[in-house]
């Protein structure tokens, strides 16, 4: 018999942003039980995580288990004892040859367990294993932990309750409706569950709630905001959008400020007029079915009015003191205890902007970019830092390039966010982020796991994107040197160019990942590794390059990220061509041969030692194509390399010949390794 399974964890309001991951987690944990089933459906509202599955068996299939008894040589009493324990007669035992010798064995039939029992045993553990970023206890110290208190549990296999207890809550068949519009206790079955919830003002499906919000706003020019929509979908059980208005006089305030108040503080959508300009309206989503008397709308309008009044008050107060006059105030705003004040940071960022080739507007923007930190508006709306500075700079007559650079200098704030629109903004943003990274790493504030209080990952990602997407010709080698002290490990670590080690090699230090075994020993540089991770992440996850392509290209250096991008694009184009993978395999072979021989190059090829035939042919081909891009050489080179390996023994008995061959291979590899270390390419051959 096949049964439907309904599992609902009833919880006090779960933070909206944690819900999708928690559901995903619940699903994985359920699948780990390996109970056969057909479809699985996952749903959630702020008050419930729900898993429904179809087609579960009533019980698991029967199975057989072989029980190992005493060895054949054991005394009869032992054999009888074993049989008695198994509840059988000694003559039912069979002698089997096992790797350990001959043993009495017995094959027992194991009846499949009831699925209900398996679930009853497993579900409490599953609930407690769902991962949440921050949990609490509520039944008392050492009680179970969850995201919020669990108040009811529905666990039904078919019509039957899967019985268990957790945190004083017994599983059952009773769910709960909407807090104000529904019944507190509702008896359900897997078949009528969704419908019963609907009757009690709970729309179980997030998709349906999303559509209900969209449809309710169909006639309104709402500014699209998918993230806000998701928040509202997961903060309501019965969402109903309404539209309110505000005094058009507030439109004199910058749109950014108005939108931030609506978006971040009130979770409202902003509304546009026919020309795409901000309209004196907003849309909010209630968690009830209707607002016939307009109470909710008027309440929200009043709250917004108070908020806008505050913003206007701050805007007007702040205008009384120019940005440039606020510079000395920054001496009293700490950036980080060991890294000084924002005044100190400003000086460093200005110097760095100059180093990056910034012209007067960029330097001016760097000078003013942190001055908004002392404004009332930024103290109230911290998420508007930078933007407010830019707006004030504009209002105070700074040039367009300057105010826009200030405005943009926190960008990009996420993977989706754009980089600053113009060069000065890119330079200021890059300098600001590099300064933060260098400083924090220097004083040991290095992110670990999920702990990244200074958002250094985001800063590093910003650095990578600004350089690549802004096509900035800068050398990370030079920039990553902590505070310009100039002892960074070179990023242009061509594994085939011998380099004097910066320090004596120490066996305790991790070897760098670049050109394993060939790179010069160097002191560990966590910032460099941290940034390398971000570079890899960017090109892999954001740009869709294969991981081995990224490794190959980076192994040939990544100090210049624009150059790295160009090489990656070449590799991507070359990869589907027929000669590429075999040649990559050959390069890997060369790499291994050189590594095994401990050969690091340095000599010159002695032509007289070259054997006529494949070896000389390879050499001649090489001399002809040397200096050409690999795209032109690959089809000619590949057959020569193949032939060489087919016919020539590198490990020749004569030491001079052997050395010469190694030199030939090394030279060949070095020639094409300025683009990528092809031995990093994963080939099928």
């Amino acid at each position: 018999m096949s049964l439907p399974f309904l599992f609902e964890i009833g919880v006090e309001e779960i933070p909206d942003w944690m819900i999708p991951d928690a559901l995903e987690n619940l699903h994985v944990l359920f699948e780990k039980l390996a109970i056969p089933h057909e479809s699985v459906t996952l749903d959630a509202t702020p008050r419930r995580l729900v898993l429904r599955a179809e087609g579960l068996p009533e019980r698991q299939a029967d199975s057989q288990e072989r029980v190992l008894g005493p060895p054949k040589a054991a005394p009869p009493q032992a054999v009888e004892g074993f049989a008695r324990k198994q509840g059988i007669k000694p003559e039912d035992l069979v002698v089997e040859t096992t790797p350990k010798g001959e043993y009495y064995t017995f094959t027992r039939n194991v009846a499949g367990r009831l699925t209900k029992d398996i679930l009853a045993e497993a579900l409490p553990g599953i609930i407690l294993k769902i991962y949440f970023p921050k949990t609490m206890y509520w039944t008392g110290r050492s009680g179970p932990r969850f995201i919020r208190p669990i108040r009811w549990i529905v666990a039904l296999l078919g019509e039957e309750i899967v019985p268990f207890e957790l945190a004083g809550v017994r599983s059952g068949a009773l769910t709960s409706g909407h807090r104000r519009l529904g019944a507190k206790e509702i008896s359900v079955t897997p078949a009528d569950y969704v419908q019963r919830l609907r009757e009690n003002y709970v729309i179980l499906s997030a998709e349906e709630r999303r559509n209900r919000i969209r449809e309710g706003l169909a006639g309104v020019r709402v500014k699209p905001d998918p993230a806000l929509l998701e928040t509202l979908v997961y903060i309501t059980e019965y969402p109903t959008p309404i539209v309110g208005g505000f005094d058009p006089l507030f439109l004199e305030l910058p749109e950014e400020v108005l939108v931030t108040v609506m978006r971040h503080h009130q979770k409202y959508f902003s509304v546009e007029d026919a020309e795409g300009k901000l309209a004196p309206q907003f849309a909010t989503v209630m968690n009830i079915d209707a607002d016939p008397e307009g109470f909710v709308r008027r309440g929200n309008e009043r709250v917004l009015r108070a908020r806008f009044n505050d913003a206007r008050f701050f805007w007007e107060t702040d205008q009384k003191k120019k940005l440039a006059d606020r510079l000395p105030d920054l001496a009293h705003v700490t950036f980080q205890a060991k890294l000084g004040s924002y005044r100190d940071k400003t000086k460093r960022v200005m110097a760095l902007v100059k180093e990056l080739g910034g012209k007067a507007p960029a330097v001016r923007a760097a000078r003013l970019c942190k001055c908004d930190l002392s404004t009332e508006l930024v103290k109230e709306f911290t998420e508007l830092q930078g933007v407010v500075g830019g707006l004030y700079a504009r209002a105070q007559g700074e040039r367009t390039e300057v105010w826009q650079a200030i405005y943009d200098h926190y960008k990009p704030e996420s993977m989706e966010d754009a980089i600053p629109r113009h060069l000065p903004g890119r330079q200021v943003s890059l300098a600001d982020k590099l300064d933060t990274l260098r400083g924090c790493f220097r004083v040991g504030l290095i992110p670990t796991g999920s702990r990244d209080p200074f958002a250094l990952r985001r800063a590093a990602q910003g650095v990578v994107r600004i350089i690549v997407e802004g096509k900035l010709d800068v050398s990370l080698d030079a920039l990553l040197a902590p505070d310009g002290a100039g002892h960074a490990r070179p990023l242009q670590a061509n594994p085939f160019t011998p380099q004097p080690p910066a320090d004596p090699p120490s066996p305790d230090l991790p070897t760098p990942d670049v050109g394993a075994g060939h790179a010069p020993p160097a002191r560990p540089d966590p910032l460099r590794d941290f940034l390398a991770d971000r570079v890899r992440f960017y090109f892999k996850e954001h740009r869709g390059f294969q991981y081995d392509e990224v490794n190959a290209a980076m192994a040939a250096g990544w100090s210049n990220l624009v150059d790295l991008e160009a090489r990656l694009m070449r590799i991507q184009k070359l990869r589907p061509t027929p000669d590429f993978e075999p040649l990559a395999a050959a390069f890997k072979r060369i790499h291994n041969i050189l590594a095994q021989a401990g050969f690091t190059g340095g000599g010159t090829i002695d032509q007289s030692l070259l054997e006529p035939g494949p070896e000389q042919e390879l050499y001649q081909e090489f001399t002809q194509i040397a200096g050409q891009p690999i795209e032109n050489a690959i089809s000619k080179l590949r057959p020569k390399v193949d032939l060489f390996f087919d016919k020539v023994l590198v490990n020749a008995p004569d030491a001079a010949v052997r050395q010469n061959r190694l030199t030939l291979l090394h030279t060949l590899l070095a020639e094409f390794s300025t683009m990528a270390d092809f031995s990093e390419i994963v080939t099928n051959s």
């Binding site: 006090e12 110290r141 104000r180 979770k267 309440g299």
Partner: protein, 295 residues
């Protein structure tokens, strides 16, 4: 229209009917109702407790000379502690809003994640801000730790922001227009206080004097804490509550100095640590004091 004081009476009655002791405000300046001994110390240990009180809460930096319609130097919190939290606490809370005339079928209530933390008290909890038609009216917290100590029983703390809530109910755009009692506005009762304390906190408070007072109170609290002996047979009569008063004094002096601009950002963390050390010390000693002397 229900007046400010009538709504307070109703809320107090509501929680009294649910077993809460109705306390009067604590008579030492505090920044929040949480800091009163009725919360800070009572949540410690295994004894159940229910209490509700209105606590005038002083935030010197929030003063606006009585000019801003929504911001106050001193606002009133109705603080409710239910220890341990009953299972239907949210239903009880929502019914308290109904009790003061809010028809929840006609209004929008949302629970938005908001975890409360007080570094000065070594305290934190998990909870929400409760939004009523877009207005934050209550902070709802399940306490987890206080004075750096994991709590035996998890209390629910409800903090109603009375001015906001009541301005909402009375449909007033300025807290000063709230009708406190028939014919008497909130402004009549409190405006002068807002103005004078703003002048004092922002302009006239003597920084050296405040630092000196801070030092004196800190010293007195520290002296008492150092003298507390967990092994003493007489420990139950040891004055930990007075020691805590001195900690509260320090906290308020710190806030005043801060609003006066006398504490640099670098100093800030250090001063918070000093107050926290005392608060944690009192909490630990207090917990010990409830227990018999180990034989």
């Amino acid at each position: 229209m229900q007046s400010f004081q009538e709504i307070i009476f109703k809320l107090k009655q509501y929680w009294a009917d649910r077993g809460a002791i109705i306390q009067e405000p604590y008579d030492v300046e505090v920044g929040a109702g949480t800091m009163c001994p009725e919360t800070f110390l009572r949540v410690l240990g295994p004894q159940p407790y229910r209490v509700a009180y209105v606590q005038p809460s002083r935030r010197p930096a929030d003063g606006r000379y009585g000019d801003n319609p929504n911001r106050l130097y001193k606002h009133s919190q109705l603080q409710v502690i239910l220890k341990p939290s009953p299972d239907d606490i949210i239903e009880q809370y929502l019914a308290s809003l109904e009790a003061i005339g809010i028809d929840l079928r006609q209004h929008d209530i949302k629970f938005e994640e908001d975890n409360w933390e007080s570094p000065t008290l070594g305290a934190w909890g998990i909870g929400w801000q409760v939004m009523l038609d877009g207005l934050e009216v209550t902070q709802f917290t399940y306490f987890q730790q206080c004075g750096g100590i994991d709590l035996d029983l998890v209390p629910a703390e409800l903090t109603y922001g009375l001015e906001r809530l009541i301005a909402f109910l009375q449909v007033k755009d300025s807290v000063y227009d709230i009708e406190w009692a028939k014919g008497v506005s909130y402004g009549d009762v409190r405006h002068r206080e807002e103005l004078q304390y703003s002048v004092y906190n922002f302009e006239m408070a003597s920084i050296p004097t405040l630092w000196k007072l801070f030092g004196l109170h800190e010293g007195e609290a520290a002296r008492l804490l150092a003298a507390y002996d967990p092994k003493s047979a007489e420990k139950k009569r040891f004055p930990l509550l007075p020691a805590y008063d001195h900690v509260l004094k320090c906290s308020n002096l710190f806030n005043t100095l801060d609003s006066r601009g006398a504490i640099s950002v670098t100093e800030r963390v250090g001063v918070i640590q000093r107050v926290r050390k005392l608060a944690v010390g009192v909490a630990q000693a207090w917990l010990d004091q409830q227990q018999e002397v180990a034989a």
